[in-house]
């Protein structure tokens, strides 16, 4: 008997993004990853940059002087916004993944409601809080301090 040929049909990285017809939680999942990577990258640089305080006052002043420009301010603001989202969405995920926001198992009755419906009000609240923090942070970054 000839070997059965199968055509590989994995979605690959495109599958992480979903596309157009998926629920909002899938986009939050993608954004959580992207912001997490961004924060990690910043954090690794941050460790080295701020360690200049351990050497001397001059080095600290020159390092801070180097980063004192609009481009880095915008970059820092993006990290701040990423953190606000990642923290508040992470709080939601933590509560869901430890079973506090999924609701207990229940007999499925059509039209089906799932754990997605249980966590959704909390998700909306978290996203509103994140948006508020990002807006107030923007005011602090670009208006209040200048």
């Amino acid at each position: 008997m000839p070997e059965i040929i199968r055509y590989p049909n994995k979605l690959g990285l495109i599958g992480w993004l979903g596309g157009g017809k998926w629920g909002v939680e899938r986009y939050l999942y993608t954004l959580h990853r992207v912001t997490g990577l961004g924060i990690l990258l910043y954090f690794l640089m941050h460790i080295f940059v701020t360690s200049s305080r351990a050497i001397s006052e001059e080095l600290w002043r020159s390092t801070m002087g180097f980063f004192d420009s609009t481009v880095f301010l915008i970059g820092e603001y993006l990290v701040f916004a990423a953190f606000a989202f990642h923290a508040l969405n992470g709080l939601r995920l933590g509560l869901i993944e430890l079973g506090f926001l999924t609701g207990p198992a229940e007999e499925p009755v059509y039209p089906y409601k799932s754990s997605l419906n249980v966590q959704r009000p909390f998700m909306i609240v978290m996203m509103i809080v994140a948006a508020a923090v990002i807006i107030v942070g923007g005011w602090d970054f670009f208006i209040a301090g200048h």
Binding site: R33, G36, L37, I39, L40, F43, L44, I47, F48, T50, S51, R53, A54, I55, S56, E57, W60, R61, M64, E76, F80, F83, A84, A87, G90, L91, G94, E97, L98, V136, G137, W139, D140, F141, A144, G145
Partner: protein, 124 residues
């Protein structure tokens, strides 16, 4: 069979919850200071940096913070890398690389926190 992955994941979540608190304070102090006035003066000016560094509690805060943040961040990176369908050998390499990178970064950050504490004490 061990429950290694259960332990790793549990600490990832706990570290995340702790970070929301620690990093939240850090962010509020540094980036919302013009709104909230939590720190006197510019939090990035040498005078305030040096003043903060004199307190041992600050050094302890930063070391704890560093440890939780490195663990949470590198475990998250490991999740992403291990989901890319890499071979067992590559996965083993990724695990080792992340552990080594984490330990080195933690050692470096700890040195910076303690050295700046010493420096701040010496300048008083």
């Amino acid at each position: 069979m061990s429950i290694k992955n259960t332990k790793l994941w549990t600490w990832h979540v706990l570290a995340g919850l702790i970070l929301i608190f620690l990093l939240g304070l850090h962010m509020l102090g540094f980036h919302m200071n013009d709104v909230l006035h939590m720190v006197e003066g510019d939090p990035l000016d040498w005078s305030t940096v040096s003043e903060r560094a004199q307190a041992l509690s600050q050094a302890v805060f930063y070391i704890l913070f560093l440890g939780f943040a490195l663990y949470h961040g590198l475990y998250g990176l490991r999740n992403i890398l291990l989901e890319l369908n890499i071979s067992d050998g590559t996965a083993g390499f990724v695990n080792k690389l992340l552990v080594v990178a984490g330990v080195l970064l933690f050692a470096f950050g700890t040195w910076a926190a303690i050295a700046s504490w010493n420096l701040a004490k010496a300048t008083v």
